[in-house]
Symmetry: C2
Subunit: 693 residues, 2 copies
């Protein structure tokens, strides 16, 4: 499992059922599990320890986590989190994603095209302000609009006042609203990446498996005003690294869990959304795999997309498997019934809470009816291509930006302007042949799903076959030209209309329907959010602070133990080492994806083969935690999360500590590889000493 945010899934055990497990939890830094750590481990979680870890933790807005590991601005994350940046700076001649990179000096470090890092600075409770804003809504506004307005207002005010990126985060299903302020960094330079073969050793076949042998790391340096950043808080590197049976912590940004979902919501995923998404993922997997096989250059161009697709596919397959298990759904039914019974037993009979359950069921049914069209027309399923995304952004930016901030579609709000522009003006390569391939295939899919005779489909195809239409659109559009994008963005909707770009005009032709589908989706989402908030508050009343909110790609703390587990009756040891890596390569006769990069073959003799390479812990993680530091009780960096084992696939639903494990690269293994395989002694020294030599 690659734990990027995009792979986050939605489904969950009721907390009531899951709380049997001691080490469950993706805890807020503002409400950490002090008591649990004290009673289970005798560990005293101090405010200073927590504050230091918070400010050393980094969020990758490309979807992932990381941490500062030197006083001169080094940030470590996973190779698969950095891959997007590696890909964008690669060319046909120089494939950093595949072949790796090392800058021995600052001058050799290479700037990323559109990477943004966020470091959390403070958290402020704004629940009362948001709720007051909704209560005092303007005439004509519904609650969703009112909430959007007040949240946008809070974000803008905070941003203007502090200069920090400011996001109002919805926690506890709307039970709580918190203002998260981040320092943004956008001058990020690549320092080190191994070959993808080493980072993703064993490839898709080994994904989700353990034992593992992956050097899944990527190291950047953060710059500010053209100089390396000197963060006050960074993690001290543990040269010995993680030991079996020791207490460890994971500080990172789990993307999304849905452990509090109701049965009708789970049934929607089981019966409607997951099957549809899986069918799309599998057709894309086949499409891009076949295309990649035609030439090395095709493979390089499709690699990042294919990687994400295969990963999401495995995750959803695993999740759907749990949802189709009558045992699991039975447990969910019982847990929900028992919660409802406890509500009925209270004074007042919890009438409004039981009504909230019914409201969710109805909202889910309403959304289900338009889900197919929503998915294909608004959520981009029918137009899979970077070009279409840009075309729509230009169209909508032109329409949204003149509106008052609070009335815009959320992604066009003032608080997100810089991120939007970073994406929109990115110089990343867009390959017309690949775009024609994926757009052609998704137009084919659109035609299958909505029907050849559907008026929208007829309008989209404009008398051509899906593939011919895709070729015409991609060849005809100018959105690959960044200057063109800048011009249209600056010129607003008049400039956009005047350009008469075929792809933008296509986006326009479906935009009325797409927006109205989104409106339905958001309205039902609003109903559910309110109902969930009602249920969430009732749950608090029953369960107190023993609870943590579902993951929301905000900073969380997990804890657990480096620990063996049983699989098919045999014990799986918690640590692997370099010797195991070479044995695995030998047993597969060095065939892809079990082959080793030439450097690794050549440098075998130099390595201490007993050095640990990967390890597992019982920490509760999910997509988005990729690249999270694993730290020991002293707060030292002992490893970096990059995966979960196959038994952890149901983590979206709930946590199980018997077999489910988080997988990290070991801090000692990283040093050994940097020195002995890559000759990156200057970098290794910086990690060990915390400053450049």
């Amino acid at each position: 499992m690659k734990l990027r945010r995009l792979t986050g899934l939605a489904a969950g055990l009721l907390a009531a059922a899951a709380f049997a497990h001691a080490e469950e939890g993706m805890w807020l830094f503002t409400d950490p599990p002090r008591a649990q750590l004290q009673s289970a481990y005798g560990f005293d979680l101090t405010a200073a320890w927590l504050q230091h870890l918070m400010k050393a933790s980094v969020r990758f807005n490309s979807g992932g986590s990381g941490s500062f590991v030197s006083g001169d601005g080094l940030v470590i994350t996973n190779h698969h989190v950095g891959l997007d940046s590696l890909q964008k700076m690669s060319t046909a001649g120089q494939n950093y994603a595949r072949d790796g990179f090392y800058a021995a000096t600052g001058a050799q470090e290479r700037k990323c095209l559109d990477l943004e890092l966020n470091v959390l600075q403070s958290v402020e409770d704004v629940t009362a302000r948001v709720n007051a804003g909704v209560a005092a809504k303007a005439p004509g506004d519904d609650d969703a609009q009112a909430r959007r307005k007040v949240m946008a207002g809070i974000e803008k005010e905070s941003r203007d006042r502090t200069g920090l990126r400011s996001d109002v985060v919805t926690l506890y299903q709307g039970g709580s609203y918190q203002l998260y302020r981040y320092k943004r960094y956008t001058d990020i330079r690549l320092v080190f990446a191994p070959e993808q073969q080493a980072a993703f050793y064993g490839g898709d076949p080994d994904n989700f498996e353990y034992p593992r042998y992956d050097l899944d790391i990527c190291i950047f340096r953060v710059y500010e005003n053209g100089q390396p950043l000197h963060p006050a808080d960074y993690l001290k590197w543990s040269v010995a690294g993680a030991r079996a049976d020791e207490l460890v912590f994971v500080s990172g940004h789990p993307g999304r869990t849905d452990r509090l979902l109701t049965v009708p919501e789970l049934e929607f995923m089981r019966d409607v959304s997951f099957p549809l998404q899986l069918a799309q993922l599998k057709r894309l997997d086949v499409l891009l795999s076949a295309w990649s096989a035609r030439s090395d250059e095709n493979a390089r161009r499709a690699k990042d997309d294919l990687f994400g697709i295969q990963n999401s596919r495995k995750l959803r397959d695993g999740a759907l498997s749990a949802l189709q298990d009558p045992g699991f759904m039975g447990t969910k039914d019982i847990a929900e019934d028992s919660f409802k019974q406890r509500l009925r037993d209270r004074p007042g009979g919890g009438r409004s809470v039981l009504a909230a359950f019914r409201q969710i069921a109805v909202a889910q049914r309403v959304f289900a009816r338009s889900y197919l069209r929503y998915r294909y027309l608004e959520a981009g399923g029918g137009f899979f291509s970077d070009s279409f995304g840009i075309a729509r952004e230009l169209l909508r930016a032109g329409e949204e930006r003149p509106k008052p901030n609070g009335e815009r579609l959320r992604e066009y709000g003032d608080a997100r302007r810089e991120s939007l522009e970073l994406d929109l003006f990115s110089d990343r390569p867009i390959y017309p042949d690949l775009e024609i391939l994926t757009l052609g295939d998704s137009l084919t899919d659109l035609t299958e799903k909505l029907g050849y005779d559907d008026p929208t489909v007829q309008a989209v195809l404009a008398g051509k076959s899906p593939r011919a239409r895709a070729a015409e659109l991609i060849r005809g559009t100018h959105v690959r030209d960044v200057a063109f994008r800048r011009k249209l963005y600056a010129g607003g909707s008049a400039a956009v209309a005047a350009a008469a770009d075929p792809l933008i005009e296509l986006a326009r032709s479906i935009d009325d329907e797409a927006r109205s589908l989104r409106k339905i989706a958001e309205a039902q989402d609003e109903v559910k959010q309110q109902a969930q908030a009602v249920i969430g508050r009732a749950r608090f009343a029953l369960e107190g602070t023993s609870n943590y909110p579902d993951a929301t790609f905000t900073l969380r703390l997990a804890y657990g133990t480096v620990k063996a587990y049983e699989e098919n009756g045999e014990e799986v040891a918690p640590l692997t080492n370099f010797a195991g890596l070479y044995e695995r390569a030998a047993s597969h006769h060095g065939r892809e994806p079990f082959d080793l990069p030439p450097r690794w073959v050549a440098r075998k003799a130099a390595l201490d083969l007993q050095t640990p390479l990967n390890f597992v812990s019982t920490c509760d993680i999910i997509g988005g935690n990729s690249g999270s530091p694993t730290v020991n009780a002293a707060g030292e960096f002992v490893g970096i999360i990059f995966d979960g084992n196959i038994e952890s696939l149901s983590a979206d639903f709930g946590y199980q500590d018997a077999q489910s494990r988080a997988v990290s690269v070991h801090s000692a293994g990283i040093l050994e590889a940097l020195r002995q395989v890559y000759g990156a002694n200057a970098l290794a020294d910086e990690l060990v000493h915390g400053h450049r030599p």
Copy 2:
């Protein structure tokens, strides 16, 4: 494109529209294109020439074609046609499918497990008998039953009288019924196969592409009574082989075309059946690709299935692309309208024919309503595994065999008994791990498509998750044991019931519904067949004998020219050679699937690199033609069909001669490879001289 029968697709241009093309046609040997050949090529097609070619042509009942190429019983076909047999005789230790095989002496030849070859001996028109039988049907019988009875009766009588396999074949949409009598051969021994790398050089990426460089051949020897067969008719081997611009013929067994389908039938494929089938193929592709990547042994076990799946997927993708092309569908609409207009212009206004068009439209709508359940419950889509197929065969054989021959499901008729038993008692390996994988995935698919709450799904899953249920069924069943199968088959339905085998009982639990779905399908098929016969006869009246019937996996003759074509403005030469193969491997740095087998690397210097390897011709072929001999005007073997180029993907719909090409291995290239790469001089000598040295 691999042209095995299973890949045959259904759709077609009206002949009226397609007859612009001179070299179109999959002609009956009983009604060959004498006039066309005379006028276009001055070629005189004699009865003796035709009879010799017919008796030298071989049908592989595993789906494919071949030909006798020596007086001592050698039969040549494609590696991908022989693959099923190669796979079945392979073990974990000895992988003939991957590594190839050569028997330098008769004693080394290896017997195939369950391969049946058919050689056409005679054709008899039985149209009048079939129609009379339907007219005089028994009270209570519908037309379909009556036709099945009379056809089974004719087959049985012929078989009893002649000892030959006897199949009544429906031609011209029921306009004509012909009794085909075949000599059956079941003692087939493997003589030669190249490495799959050489046979399928370029793998899935090069599939459908040209230029090509594949040695896609496999050579067997037919035995009778323990001795090599000495066929009176076999093809003389042309040492020089095919030349550019020469007239060539293809004699083989195109599996299925549907060039006469009506617009509602094409719409059904476009909107209903192809999207569903493609989604299944793509999910299987992903499933088996991922599993194959885990280990070499997995890859070996899944290879044959995966091969067929990827091939069918490409074909259907191509076909759907044509069906979604408004240009194509517009042409179809116009052609059908113009045909109807010509009918209206005739005396009587063609009322019954126009009614037949309406009947087809209604029957198609009725079938469409039950298609999903038909596909998953009767056509096996929900139970993808060899074990389930066997379990159902045992169940149904027990129920069907006591019935009168004419009332049975067709595959249990007396005429097909030997073929059924050959399949049922085959010793082919069945791998429980692979069976659990595919059955688990298709039960998951079944649950998605029919719905978790569907009563049939609930009964099938029996309270387990799809994967757990699949594991339980495959572990619990005894159908992998051939002795068990023999016992149950011999004991009939009482023995089957007494065995209480979990997988057979599963098949039983859905069999009422499956059979009733089949009944609906067959009834609508019957309506369509009758209506098509009405239309077919009217078409004859209008078009005369300029027409050929749609392909039906019976012997056909195609003709054409070895000819270059244009693609993206550049001319593609008609022949490739060995030099091109080595260049292609070099340009891909020898990476899979463009790597060469070690023998080919080692023997490069010994080869005459200018020897032709593959070539294209304008012959009209389709799935099932795989392995068909390409012969010259003298009736000599000049090559062997193995593929079509990407422009030929719409061959199911109709023929286009501008770019569409059939691809063959060249007879000179085969000899050169046998001698210089494989040191198979004895075999090469036998091919050249027509007898063993």
